[in-house]
């Protein structure tokens, strides 16, 4: 028997919880509606039972909605999340989206708004969790590009994959240009299409963008699909050049790098380092610092920690997490902060590739 989807509602007002429960019970599929009075209770319930959707009020005492959502996003990345608020505030809206919520919704006050709200929740429940664009629909990046081109749209698609970022320019349904770390044009397009996960935004079109891609979009998509298929099947191995140096060795050759330390997030005692005589101390400091400011970010509701930069008289340092690896990269102290930032992007791009 198919299991009914489960929704968890968190609010500090029991009356509102009851009202929501009645509303959401009308959804198709008759989801199980569970309620939690307050954020702490919601977190406890999430630990004990699986849910598909969390609908969380923002204004709650002790543990507010942004704090709850920050924790939830990190611990349960597959859980769909809806932030609810009675107060329209741009800062809270942008912070909620920065946390990665699927929907930010002003509490419905009319029948029409209620219907729209229910439709959105139903749509969240109906989505697959394995693949696709979260918050929009179950589609791959290839589908999205194809859709934009077929509909003769003009837009800039900005994609982020961890610390990496890329853009694809589409003008009147034609691929005009692409940009990825260290790459432009077709090469950048193929690189972006090879990323396995990330976030995207549709930005307004930039008609003045100089054209660097002249191939039809369907030819480029086909090439990307073939390259991905070959990579997955391991067919490229036969013609492949000799194996490149290890990622750590490549990274340590980036201009300005003094040392590199890579720490698997799931193996606390392990690390790989180049250019460090005593990596254990630096590894401990890196882990402590990342953990400390992650927790602070959760507490402040400021979003997932992006990176930490340190500037000192002897050397500079940059700490970040990419995928399942934590990084600490030491930089020459002659580099300006902007140069550290720029070079760190190169390091992460090299690591990812």
């Amino acid at each position: 028997m198919e299991r009914r989807p489960r929704i968890l509602l968190a609010d500090d007002d029991p009356d509102l919880l009851e009202l929501y429960r009645e509303m959401l019970a009308q959804l198709p599929g008759q989801p199980e509606i569970h309620t939690a009075v307050g954020g702490a209770r919601a977190l406890t319930m999430l630990e004990t039972e699986p849910y598909q959707v969390l609908i969380c009020d923002l204004k709650m005492p002790k543990l507010d909605g942004l704090q709850v959502l920050a924790i939830v996003r990190r611990k349960y990345p597959d859980l769909r999340t809806v932030a609810l608020t009675a107060e329209v505030d741009e800062q809270f809206r942008s912070r909620a989206y920065a946390l990665g919520v699927d929907l930010f919704w002003t509490k419905p006050a009319t029948e029409h708004e209620t219907r729209l709200f229910l439709e959105c929740v139903a749509s969240l429940l109906g989505r697959e969790t394995e693949v696709g664009f979260r918050g929009v629909q179950t589609r791959s990046l290839m589908d999205i590009v194809q859709m934009e081109c077929l509909s003769r749209s003009s837009a800039v698609l900005r994609i982020t994959n961890g610390a990496l970022g890329g853009k694809i320019w589409i003008q009147d349904g034609e691929l005009v240009d692409a940009e990825a770390p260290g790459l432009e044009g077709e090469a950048a397009f193929h690189r972006i299409l090879s990323w396995k996960a990330g976030n995207f935004e549709m930005l307004p079109a930039e008609p003045s963008r100089p054209r660097q891609i002249y191939k039809p979009y369907n030819a480029l998509l086909l090439e990307s699909a073939q390259a991905l298929d070959e990579a997955y099947a391991g067919l490229a191995a036969a013609d492949a050049p000799p194996p490149p140096p290890s990622p750590l060795a490549q990274v340590s050759r980036v201009e300005g790098v003094e040392f590199v330390l890579a720490l698997p997030a799931d193996a606390p005692g392990e690390h790989a380092a180049r250019g460090l005589e005593n990596p254990e101390r630096m590894a401990a400091w890196t882990r402590q610092s990342l953990e400390r400011f992650r927790a602070l970010g959760d507490h402040l509701g400021a979003g997932a920690l992006d990176r930490i930069e340190g500037f000192g008289p002897q050397r500079h340092v940059a700490l970040t997490t990419q995928g399942a690896t934590e990084f600490c990269v030491g930089w020459k102290n002659t580099l300006a902060p902007d140069e550290v930032r720029e070079q760190m992007q190169k390091v992460l791009a090299l690591w990812a590739s």
């Binding site: 942008s94 791959s140 900005r158 979003g303």
Partner: protein, 107 residues
């Protein structure tokens, strides 16, 4: 449709990320600041504690630092070391760009 106006309620306030700065001595005591009074003092002390600990542990790891910048999607914290204490600047970040459609994907 007045019934659903029940949804509006005046309950606890959300922590608004402030713009401003504060100084803290080597013991973690906040000396002065320009943060709004609505921003809770325990949170300011917590930020100060984390910053000071990071500076001192870096020095212990043979990595003396004069400045730390912590980047979050919604906030940038800049801390400059001041003789064992620190001056800390908080700057909320504006949304990066208009988002007409969003937002995450698994390719």
């Amino acid at each position: 449709m007045g019934l659903l106006n029940l949804f509006a309620k005046s309950a606890p306030t959300l922590l608004r990320l402030p713009t401003g700065s504060f100084t803290v001595d080597r013991e973690g005591k906040v000396l002065s600041g320009t943060l709004p009074s609505s921003f809770p003092a325990p949170v300011v002390r917590d930020i100060a504690r984390q910053v000071l600990a990071t500076f001192s542990e870096a020095a212990a790891a043979q990595l003396p630092l004069a400045e730390l910048i912590i980047h979050y999607p919604s906030l940038k914290i800049t801390a400059r070391e001041l003789r064992g204490g620190a001056i800390v600047f908080l700057a909320p970040k504006a949304p990066a760009s208009p988002m007409s459609r969003g937002n995450s994907l698994l390719l």
